[in-house]
């Protein structure tokens, strides 16, 4: 059932589009500042050929943004039902692509995860995020997570875990961790909060066991558990077995950390966690990234050094400054005011996505909305966290800000599929 373009455009959530444009705009300014060199000519366009301009990240980013706009138009024009209908097909195709990628890709920075199509480099793992989001949302629409159907839960877990396992196989652990974000969406759809709590508790225990001597930790936990039961003898009688098994699991985890740390994690991953705890552990290696990143952000002060005045980024002290460490440029040149603007932009966007998700009438739309918010939130947490020394160095970009076609296109697709679904929401009602 065709709709007039005017009516259709009215049903698009322009607020999200506005926030998106703001973020991409600020992001481009940051990429420009990060790749700006004081030696460059005043007006590059009048001096340099296209080939020469292509050497600048900020120029390529203009091309990526331009193509992203084309992409948006295409995404909004495609019938929203296609996303629903082809979700599994896309998922299957993506799985195949993830499987073949390591065999056909050239190794870049230690991982075989980039496909080269002429001048354009694409990372299939980036696109795995929105395709998986579509697939799990599609699957979720057909089941009821609350009903504790073990088979459904297993399939859902399989759908969620298969892509990250393939991505880990291609040595892109950072991108794989993103899939953990789906738990937030599942939680909204009825997953037991216990799972979130247990994971959170496990995280706390892991971090504590790296920071605090193990015997102290076990001792303190034992005393705490003992006190809880000593003051509540009824619970003590009923849940003794549970308490003991929790105790055993925690103690096991505390002592298992070393095993996990030394035998499961790879050397560079271990380094990144060591550096998080003690930044001076490896000052010229991984510690360099964290230290220089903090110096760049910290030296920005309250109001920053001003646009293009950031010395740390301009003179290449910060590594990966236009991609993973783009937040440093913001922090250095715009100060605390600038970093707050970025954080607020993200909060407004995430809030708006949740609002849009909640107004969906279909489980598919809502789940997908939550997936979008969770994925963006995960990137926001880990990327900014790593630049300010709160998270280990994980090579994932800051959505809409970081330089790069793959990441910009994948986040654009992720977001605008939601807007497309949302735009047809009213027609959904009209149809039934």
């Amino acid at each position: 059932m065709p709709t007039s373009p005017a009516r259709y455009s009215r049903s698009i959530d322009w607020i999200t589009v506005l926030i998106y444009l703001l973020m991409v705009g600020v992001g481009w300014l940051s990429v420009y500042a990060a790749s700006y060199s004081p030696d460059a000519p005043e007006n590059p366009f009048s001096h340099l050929s296209f080939q020469e301009l292509m050497a600048f990240n900020w120029f390529k980013q203009i091309l990526w943004i331009g193509t992203a706009v084309v992409l948006i138009v295409v995404l909004l024009v495609i019938d929203y039902k296609a996303y629903d209908t082809f979700a599994f097909v896309l998922y299957g195709a993506m799985i195949l692509l993830l499987i073949v990628t390591p065999f056909i890709a050239r190794p870049i920075a230690g991982s075989r995860s980039w496909l080269e199509l002429g001048p354009v480099r694409l990372q299939p793992a980036e696109f795995a995020k929105f395709i998986t989001a579509l697939a799990v949302s599609r699957y979720m629409a057909g089941i009821n997570l609350r009903q504790q159907n073990f088979r459904d839960q297993l399939v859902l877990a399989g759908l969620t875990l298969l892509p990250p396992l393939l991505i880990i196989a291609a040595n892109e652990t950072g991108q794989a961790l993103v899939f953990g974000a789906f738990l937030l969406a599942y939680f909204r759809e009825g997953m037991s909060p216990l799972i979130l709590l247990i994971l959170a508790a496990a995280g706390v225990v892991l971090i504590l066991s790296l920071l605090v001597p193990k015997l102290w930790l076990v001792g303190a936990f034992t005393v705490l558990l003992g006190l809880v039961f000593a003051f509540n003898t009824r619970i003590f009688r009923h849940h003794l077995v549970l308490a003991l098994s929790v105790w055993a699991v925690v103690v096991g985890m505390v002592f298992g950390v070393d095993f996990f740390f030394n035998n499961v994690l790879q050397a560079h991953q271990r380094k990144r966690i060591e550096v998080l705890i003690n930044p001076s552990a490896d000052p010229l290696g991984v510690g360099w990234n964290v230290t220089q990143s903090k110096i760049a952000i910290g030296s920005g002060g309250f109001a920053g050094k001003g646009f293009l005045q950031g010395t740390q980024t301009k003179f290449d002290f910060v590594p990966e400054q236009s991609t993973d460490f783009i937040f440093c440029t913001v922090g250095e040149e715009w100060g605390w005011v600038g970093t707050m603007v970025v954080i607020i932009l993200f909060m407004v966007l995430l809030g708006r996505i949740l609002y849009v998700a909640e107004r969906q009438k279909s489980v598919f739309g809502r789940t997908y909305g939550y997936c979008v918010a969770s994925i963006i939130f995960f990137h926001f947490c880990v990327n900014i966290g790593m630049t300010i020394g709160l998270a280990p160095v994980v090579g994932i970009p800051l959505p809409f800000f970081s330089y790069g076609g793959s990441s910009l296109w994948s986040f654009t697709t992720l977001l605008f599929i939601l807007l497309a679904i949302d735009a047809y929401r009213k027609q959904d009602l009209e149809r039934y």
Partner: protein
């Protein structure tokens, strides 16, 4: 299913919690913690220090003594060195292969992208030889720098030398502003007047990238400063007199200090043996320094300031002046030349007044003068009497600038020693000594020690009849005068009238019949010299000869003190040497009949040292 909608608040809460955590953390590292700003400046700001042009040094007559000439360092940037033809390179520089290899290794260890010196202190001809061919060796460049050069071969001890700052210096707070590799005055006037000579460094702040490569001026050069040249020093040294004094002291050990008594300006300052000041500059300076250091004649020892001798008979003048001022003797007081008290120098007429006593340098006379000054019956206990007396006597003697640093503008000065009652208490025990223990002081022997500079200053004080300006080398800094402490007149607490009573005695030492200093007489050219000979008993070998004088006696223009080590009686070597210098300074040339002395003056090298 509706109740699940509440879970959106949990998700919201998680999002907000993380955002707040980030906001707080960012506020801490960006606003509260200043250390990141400092770290950022350390990363990117490079101070480039421009060495100022060091002040020049002129003599009394405006003749330039020390100046700056460019020397060249061959610098290398290891990264830019491409396919080095080592054999040709070594041939060009005339350096052994190992040295070039070592140098390259050190340069690489320092930095691959920053320039470091491979060969230092190339002179202009050496530079000319290699400069044209240097184009074939990428990565090598020439850096010009200023170094000291000398227009004189004299007064190395006063001038001192300039060298690269040592790690030990860098640790001292006084040198906190210096950086490794900078040059500064190490000794002598170069060191004492370092702040004036140094000038002000120019500082340019350059921004560098992560590889240390320059990326332009910081904030358009807002904080950059230009270097300001150091101030010139105008010495009171008379180059001609100095050169003549060094010529006369050649082959001897000892010191000569000549002052202008009216101003305290030092006219000549010799520490023998001497060396050429250029020895301690330029290529190979380190080796030459070690040679000087290991020389058994100890040429680096600054004798006029650091060698303390018992002054010998010259000190009798101070002894007499102190006694006159205390009123315990008068000029007409006569004492017997009693050899039972102390041996006299020779048989002579009865010293019926101070003039005759000075002329004959009568030891028993001055023994009794000092005894009168020290033993005044202040205490019934004769030990205590000597103790109290010596204390008072010492305080008066020290007024002449003895037993403490005069404060000349060189840092190596020694205090000398005027022994105190405590000194003897410690050595002999409390109340275990009396005047018989300390009487040697009266004739300038025993424990007493004074420097050549102090001796010259005594002469200046007598010439001025009771006051002196602190001796100094620099009469003008830049366009201004000397340092303020050299314009303060010090009085020694003895009335002028007492000086008038001893000066005729000093004149007769030189010009009187049978005076001990007859060899210093310049009456034949119309100059009356007032002086005093001295022979310093030396337990280690031959006695040292001293002579101290000023002239002309009626209007003194020069005061001089000469010590010649191991040269025996002062009258035969130190006195004629002084006369030559006085004549040279006052007349500008030497009377022909006295020229023969120039080659004849005895010194240890010819006559005495060989015996030991």
């Amino acid at each position: 299913m509706q109740y699940l909608e509440g879970r959106k608040y949990v998700v919201h809460a998680i999002f907000l919690a993380v955002a707040l955590l980030f906001a707080a953390r960012l506020f801490y590292i960006q606003v509260l913690d200043g250390s990141y700003k400092l770290a950022a400046d350390r990363n990117t700001l490079q101070r480039i220090v421009q060495a100022p042009y060091r002040g020049l040094i002129y003599d009394r007559k405006g003749q330039i003594l020390v100046q700056n000439t460019p020397v060249y360092d061959l610098m290398v940037v290891p990264r830019e060195v491409k396919k080095l033809d080592t054999a040709r390179f070594c041939q060009l520089l005339q350096l052994p292969l190992e040295e070039v290899r070592e140098g390259m290794k050190a340069a690489r260890a320092y930095s691959r992208v920053k320039a470091s010196p491979l060969v230092q202190n190339l002179s202009t001809p050496e530079l000319a030889a290699i400069q044209d061919n240097l184009i074939d060796f990428p990565g090598f460049s020439i850096k010009a720098r200023m170094a000291r050069s000398y227009n004189t071969k004299n007064m190395a001890h006063a001038l001192g030398y300039v060298g690269a700052i040592t790690p030990a210096f860098l640790e001292k707070p006084k040198f906190s502003k210096y950086m490794a590799g900078e040059f500064l005055g190490i000794t002598g006037l170069e060191s004492f007047y370092e702040p004036q000579l140094m000038g002000r460094r120019g500082v340019q702040y350059r921004m560098v990238n992560v590889r240390g490569i320059e990326k332009g001026a910081f904030r358009g050069g807002e904080f950059d400063t230009l270097s300001i040249a150091g101030q010139d020093l105008h010495l009171s040294i008379d180059s001609d007199l100095q050169a003549y004094a060094e010529q006369l002291m050649a082959g001897k050990r000892g010191s000569v200090v000549a002052l202008d008594p009216k101003t305290g300006e030092i006219l000549a300052f010799v520490s023998a043996p001497m060396f050429d000041p250029a020895t301690l500059s330029g290529k190979g300076m380190g080796n030459r320094y070690m040679d000087l250091l290991n020389n058994p004649e100890r040429p680096l020892f600054n004798r006029p300031l650091m060698a303390t001798y018992p002054p010998g008979s010259t000190f009798k003048l101070v002894n007499e002046l102190v006694a006159l001022q205390m009123g315990v003797v008068t000029p007409q007081t006569g004492f017997a030349c009693n050899w039972k008290l102390v041996r006299c120098t020779h048989r002579h007429e009865y010293p019926s007044n101070v003039g005759i006593a000075i002329k004959n340098s009568c030891n028993p006379y001055f023994y009794q003068v000092m005894r009168a000054a020290v033993l005044r019956g202040r205490s019934a206990n004769r030990f205590e009497d000597a103790r109290l007396g010596l204390g008072e006597w010492r305080r008066k003697v020290m007024q002449f600038g003895l037993g403490e640093k005069l404060g000349v503008d060189l840092s190596q000065e020694k205090r000398g020693l005027i022994p105190s009652p405590d000194f003897y208490d410690k050595r002999n025990g409390y109340h275990r000594w009396n005047y018989r223990t300390v009487y040697s002081l009266s004739i300038g022997q025993g424990e007493i020690g004074i420097t050549g500079l102090q001796m010259a200053n005594i002469m200046a004080t007598i010439a001025n009849r009771g006051w002196y300006y602190t001796p100094h080398f620099v009469k003008g800094i830049g366009q201004g005068g000397p340092l303020p402490q050299y314009t303060v007149r010090h009085t020694v607490g003895v009335d002028p009238i007492h000086f008038d009573e001893i000066i005729p005695g000093m004149q007769s030492v030189v010009d009187g019949r049978g005076g001990t200093g007859g060899n210093a007489s310049l009456l034949d050219v119309g100059i009356s010299v007032a002086g005093k000979t001295g022979t310093v008993q030396n337990p280690h070998g031959d006695d040292h000869a001293t002579f101290a004088a000023f002239a002309p006696a009626e209007d003194p223009k020069i005061a001089i003190a000469v010590f010649i080590e191991n040269a025996g009686f002062g009258g035969s070597s130190a006195a004629p040497l002084s006369a030559l210098l006085i004549e040279k300074y006052l007349r500008g040339n030497i009377a022909p009949w006295r020229r023969r002395w120039e080659g004849w003056l005895p010194g240890p090298a010819e006559r005495f040292v060989k015996h030991h």
